[in-house]
Symmetry: none
DNA sequence: CATGAATGAGGTTTCATTCAT
DNA sequence: TATGAATGAAACCTCATTCAT
């Protein structure tokens, strides 16, 4: 049993190393050796824990997604009606979260060629979509949404906006500090939320 | 006299072939051989026109960007106040334009590791930003924007939204036909444009 | 535990294989595959131990030089005043030593284009020059040199002569057996050494 | 008939360009394109005048050798007993002659792998050997050689010395101006020539 | 469990050569 | 006669994967 824990820990450590490597060098320049360097182990060790390179990369993606959802869940627990706080967890506001977002984005273009990745991407989106829809429903029930707002439709628009802002922030980090990103998010939310009088 | 060949035309043909290959196989799976297949020539012929693979890829990006701007310019010529028509040219509404957008997106994650690509990406964005700003100014002067709209700020929001919608449409083409993409764009524009009474 | 391999030994084995290949096929016809054939390994194994082909070639040169100096040192240990024996170690007198000399010579023309190689070549010459100068000094102190001999000047002349004779012997091995080479060396030494009465 | 002259002129021009390229970049880094650049023509033009690359290289060598012999012949015509002047023509005393010597040397290592080149090299040497032998005979007949000098033997020693000095001068041009090269030659000649009392 | 040496397929790149014009 | 576009073989090099230890 302790073995299993070690095993999982090791896998996660390697996945985390892969994240760093992907964020730093770009997903298609990363080699198993690079990942090994970040994880302080050799390529042989990596192939002990993963079937092949693709499995490592997917584990990196899963790790990022998992962290993302954990943060989003915590935000919901803190305040189920804090839509802004919930969304902020998916934006590259701080250097620590930026790497994860980079990894997430890195897989986008990979889905062009891989049917499997494409399906997983869609699953992830659906999951995010549902989580966001639930936030909006909660807010609607609490009377915080402007009347006439189409929740499903808004979910998609917000998702697109978050991705679009996050992309800019990741491509041009210097010009896009947290405040600037949030300013654009807030400006949009203002348009659909009931204004506190 | 050697075989008469239009050097620029040949370069563009190869760049176009690279676009097709990138959109089809994904940017990191494309080989010079693949591009040669699409361009009906050998790898030797490609390196006759380009210094190396990177140069080919950049030419592909440039071609896509150039086509994008050409389409945007034509839209402006048709009707300088047609913001929607202008923006629609940068969205993957039809299969033909989808490939170009895919290529454009494909280079995003590449900028994580390449300083040169990152700079080019920013230049492109500035150019697009300026073009979009001008559209909004023209509309503002024509009294078509709601009062109090911050043009620079709106430019960024719209850019983010377009990228976000385009991304979804490209990742999940079946679910995102032109109408759905435009619906989200229209919904946002409605919020900043003067309503036709 | 990985397969236990003496890293330095492996490098030297590959360098030795490169020497053989260079001597046999000529420095500009040698491929990594050829070297691999001589070393009983694949090109991949070679690049596992060396950064690139240039590094392999330089290692080959270094190995040759090292062997040369080892032989010269041994000669000095045997008899510090045996100038002829010392010089003989740098001449292609036997088939075994011929390969090394060939490799050494092969790098001469490479220095025309490579600044780094040129510098290394000069360093090697200086080292040889100093060793030879020391031999002559020892002999002078032992009263074996004719009076009035300029040691530095003679060092250069002898070096030139050795190179010239060695070159002929390597280009036309059949016509230049050891005796013939040594005859020319002896004839010159006779002119500067005190004759045994 | 004028065509033929043009043809030969063109061939020689290309051979001369090859010489420059070889001296500058090293014999194994030279491409037909480089030679074309120096000759102001394309690779196509070169293959019009030569069967293949080897033929071009050999033409370059022939040109160098031919120039060498022309210079040596002129020296003999000026003064048949001026051994020093005769030998000086084969040394890299001036920048102009250095390129030719470099080309000559460059072919040395090529002979390791090519039987044809090796034979040509030997032919060249024999020719030079004979010319030098004749010089020494003339001097001997004129009573300018010390008694007991073995002409054939001295010819070889002198040839080796010339090559050895020339090599050093070519590898380390800055340290080996004409005077230094000639000083070593003179020192040797002094040992075999009758001293002017 | 873990290592890292070795493999070998596959990619990019170079370049002598050919050939249509 | 001359061009230079195009070929294609061959080289170097990278790297995911395997495997003896």
């Amino acid at each position: 049993m302790p073995r299993v824990v070690d095993h999982d820990q090791r896998r996660e450590a390697i996945a985390a190393a892969a994240c760093k490597a992907i964020a730093r060098q770009g997903i298609d320049a990363v080699t198993l050796g690079d990942i090994g360097d970040h994880a302080d182990c050799t390529t042989g060790a990596i192939t002990h824990y993963f079937a092949d390179k693709d499995a490592v990369m997917l584990a990196a993606l899963d790790l990022v997604i998992q962290r993302l959802y954990r943060r989003m869940s915590r935000a919901v627990e803190r305040d189920p009606t804090d839509l802004r706080g919930f969304l902020a967890e998916t934006m590259p506001l701080r250097p620590q979260s930026r790497d994860g977002i980079k990894v997430w984005f890195s897989f986008w273009t990979r889905t062009f060629s891989s049917r499997a990745l494409n399906r997983r991407q869609r699953e992830m989106h659906v999951r995010w979509f549902n989580a966001l829809t639930e936030r909006l429903s909660v807010m609607d029930n609490a009377g915080l949404l402007r009347p006439g707002v189409d929740i499903a439709f808004e979910t998609e628009t917000i998702a697109a906006l978050i991705n679009g802002i996050g992309l800019r922030a990741v491509l041009d980090a210097r010009e896009w500090p947290a405040e600037r990103q949030l300013a654009h998010l807030d400006a949009y939310l203002e348009k659909i939320l009931v204004q506190p009088s």
